[in-house]
Symmetry: C2
């Protein structure tokens, strides 16, 4: 194996999101691949992407990825459902490194878990409107019934910190009831904020509906893909570093980060995208 190959393996994984939610993906990756370095970019100056048009989301995504590429990374992880819905082909066309989103892993996991092939998907307005989950599921198995529900209030509720709050429980009941009525047996959490509501959601949907956490599914997928491409970091006995960049002031991000990451974040810098 050449020096060049070793060098590539030791490069960090680049991850970006419209804001802070992608840290749930970082958390899942660090649990599964603790020795990998990670560079995270949260575009907090322009968050959220979920309410914006495909053209605008594509433009933002290309700018975000260009920033990560300049940091010298071995792969791009798009930890944002909206970008994964609209912009993956553009990113793949533009860059040589592997590009991985959160949709495909969630979809594949859901199709492994479901027995009745009745799958529910929740996400932001943009993710659901894009019909990307429906298209991705049906392209892998045509005879699957997919039921989607946009849940635009869940991100603000999580960011308000109302995780175990009666209002959140009420909102979740309103959003999830139509899906439960459709007799789904699997529910994809199609937004990186939603893993924080997993326990609340479990209480409402009950034991017989399997919840697919797209952050966990994405981490498993990344491990498999990097392994297949033989670019996993070979040095196992080290603790990977996490450096986070944000496009707005780091204060607010740093304050919220531990809720998503599971522990405090140390290095947060301001990024200039252009």
């Amino acid at each position: 194996m050449g020096n060049q190959d070793i060098k590539i393996k030791k490069l960090p994984i680049g991850i970006f999101d419209s804001g802070i939610g992608g840290l749930t993906v970082v958390r899942a990756i660090r649990k599964l691949l603790p020795n990998e370095d990670i560079i995270y970019l949260g575009d907090t100056a322009r968050v959220p992407y979920g309410t914006k048009s495909p053209e605008t989301v594509k433009r933002f995504a290309l700018e975000d990825a260009a920033f990560l590429i300049r940091q010298n990374i071995k792969a791009i992880v798009v930890a944002c459902n909206t970008v994964s819905s609209w912009a993956l082909p553009d990113l793949e066309r533009e860059y040589d490194v592997p590009v991985m989103g959160v949709i495909e892993p969630g979809v594949k996991t859901a199709l492994e878990k479901t027995k009745t092939y009745r799958i529910g998907v929740i996400g932001t307005n943009a993710t659901i409107r894009s019909r990307t989950y429906v298209t991705a599921i049906k392209s892998l198995r045509r005879n699957t019934a997919v039921f989607s529900k946009p849940c635009p209030l869940l991100v603000p509720l999580v960011e308000e910190g109302w995780i175990n709050h009666p209002v959140t429980h009420e909102v979740l009941k309103i959003y999830l009831k139509p899906l439960i009525k459709k007799n789904i047996d699997t529910l994809i959490l199609g937004c990186t904020h939603y893993p924080l509501l997993k326990n609340q959601i479990k209480k409402i949907v009950g034991e017989w509906i399997t919840i697919v956490d797209s952050a966990e599914a994405c981490a498993n997928y990344i491990k498999k893909e990097l392994s297949a491409k033989n670019i996993l970091n070979p040095v196992a006995e080290r603790q990977g570093k996490l450096i986070a960049y944000v496009t707005d002031s780091p204060d607010h991000f740093t304050h919220l980060a531990d809720r998503f990451l599971g522990n405090p974040i140390e290095m947060v810098w301001k990024a200039e995208l252009k």
Copy 2:
């Protein structure tokens, strides 16, 4: 009076906001000054401003105002509490036309209405954190007790269309209860989305608390200021035109606009800020 003066009077008023909420100000202005032309800019590609840092908000505000100035306007109305909190001095320094925000009119109206000088203010996280309302009120009358409460869930609830919804009622009760307990007699709605919730809020705070709608207060203030500067449009018997620009795709904006404006919007164009 010279031709030049007449020309200035006939120019449109330029209004900008981070997104769609500023249309409640447009609505109030059109009611009060139906013969004025209005050019509106909603920075829907970067909405919301309320969660972003002062530096980022200032940068965005200068770009928004520059766009309006290029359309040839006689005054700038900042129909956004966050921008009015952080960026008015920067805008006044940069441009020669009158610059009017939403804070001062709301504050002056509240001080006219209050009898006990115990005033409540609700707004986004950024507006409340900026303490601009507190500072503005106390600079006009020092011995005033001001009680503020950030209400970050109200904008998403309005945009979800849950105006007369039990969840919104519950959230409002949680947000307003601490203010009611402080025995306020006047409540400033410090966010352009909140006039849509005025009836719901009235039900909760009761008859003895006066609600100050900052959109209405702002319209009254604009009329007074333009009149004092002698640049009101002198042609009374005409219906003013409204042209709206947005930085993201017009579709979503057009769809939501009539909820804020009270009637459908006709001309919405995509704006390029740079």
